[in-house]
Symmetry: none
Subunit: 217 residues, 2 copies
DNA sequence: TTGCAGTTCGGGCAAATTTCCCAAGCCGGA
DNA sequence: TCCGGCTTGGGAAATTTGCCCGAACTGCAA
């Protein structure tokens, strides 16, 4: 690992908006100890940039076109398990946060956070600690009060199948017919899937299914 | 009007993410002729800041909580018809662009644009010209050639806004709070949107919003 | 063999939401 | 001026959700 104390923290910025990257770069560099050594504007380039520059921390927005940011996290971590990745996005859904962490992220900070919170999160992640912004901690705390599991891997075979059809746009009756189940059973699965994944909305369920590759949009 | 040539261009930044504002501020100020004289983090404060500082250009992200950005545009223009407003957002839906211009915006630039395109757009708008980024021009052109409008074209601007938030994972109550509406009204919009678009399921609605670029997954 | 744990399947019932229908206010165009 | 569309919400019946429950079936291990 780099000698962080002596050389400062090197950062790889991944975000699809050029001017946003430029803005972050200036904010981070004004801190003195943070140095943006590379940028990438999509998930596919992120790993190449990571390999080329071996940054201490990857700061990455998961809402990007093309491959999902979650995939980028998995991609980088699979080949460089010591990589520190800080997710930095406007989204604050519990499902997404949990997916990001289980994909291998070290931190999760929303864009609503103060700049100081963001740079502190970068420093924490560089030290190998876990970091998240206050709003994320709150959402996760709220979510953890119900004895749910983590994300999609907690679902059984049937639940996955029903989630797939549901996210594909099928109605409850249609799913019941397809699978020769009673409507009530499908409704119960629907409810179970929501509680297990922590989704509070059907829309969140669809987004989860999409980000996990269960359905294509 | 201010003497732009002699004093430079004063800018009011409106965006709900503190670090994003900070980033823009640094990028713009590095240009020499652009000066950020005020910031606002929501549509409600935008007009107050405008009145207090009388900036040459308002740079505003329309995807904000609270009153929609479109409302902020109308708000400012209604009371100060000479205001120059440049919409600066990640969204690139033709419907949104048209709504923004008819609300009184002078320009529309996406965050995918190069920083140089953004600052040039600010200068154009300050000179009283209309400005838009290349991708927006392309989308508008494409849209005007298609005989069959997108499914979103039949929706009003409120419906679009509610659909965006819904597809983003917000609950009915959250949307009602964000937009200062009764839950009942949001429910009615939800129903109306479904019937207008022909979606029979919330999941289909999310997919529609995603394929139309209203939301990203 | 027994027993435990997990998955699948569905009933029940109160609470919430969806589905329609309706109305009033506002604004822009004919 | 009148018409039509958008926005905002009330009302009431129909449906779904949220959360409880039990039962059958599986595999697995003691």
């Amino acid at each position: 690992m780099n000698d962080v104390a002596a050389t400062g923290i090197s950062v790889l910025l991944v975000d699809d908006h050029p001017i946003v990257r430029q803005g972050y770069r200036r904010v981070l560099e004004s801190q003195g100890d943070l140095h943006v050594v590379a940028e990438a504007d999509n998930a596919a380039d992120a790993y190449g940039a990571f390999k080329a520059h071996d940054p201490d921390v990857v700061v990455l927005d998961i809402s990007m076109p093309g491959a999902s940011g979650l995939e980028a996290i998995r991609n980088i971590r699979a080949r460089s398990p010591r990589a520190r990745i800080l997710v930095f996005t406007m989204h604050n859904e519990a499902v997404l946060v949990k997916s990001a962490f289980s994909a291998g992220a070290s931190g999760f900070v929303t864009k609503s956070s103060e700049p100081s919170a963001v740079v502190n999160a970068i420093r924490s992640v560089a030290r190998g600690e876990r970091a998240m912004s206050d709003d994320i901690a709150h959402i996760l705390a709220e979510d953890s009060l119900s004895p749910t599991g983590s994300a999609l891997d907690q679902l059984g075979e049937r639940e996955i199948e029903i989630l797939r059809q549901f996210a594909g746009g099928a109605t409850t009756e249609e799913i019941a017919t397809h699978l020769n189940l009673s409507v009530k059973t499908v409704q119960n699965y629907h409810y179970l899937i929501k509680t297990k994944t922590g989704a509070r909305t059907d829309a969140q369920l669809v987004r989860l299914a999409a980000t996990c590759g269960l359905t294509r949009i």
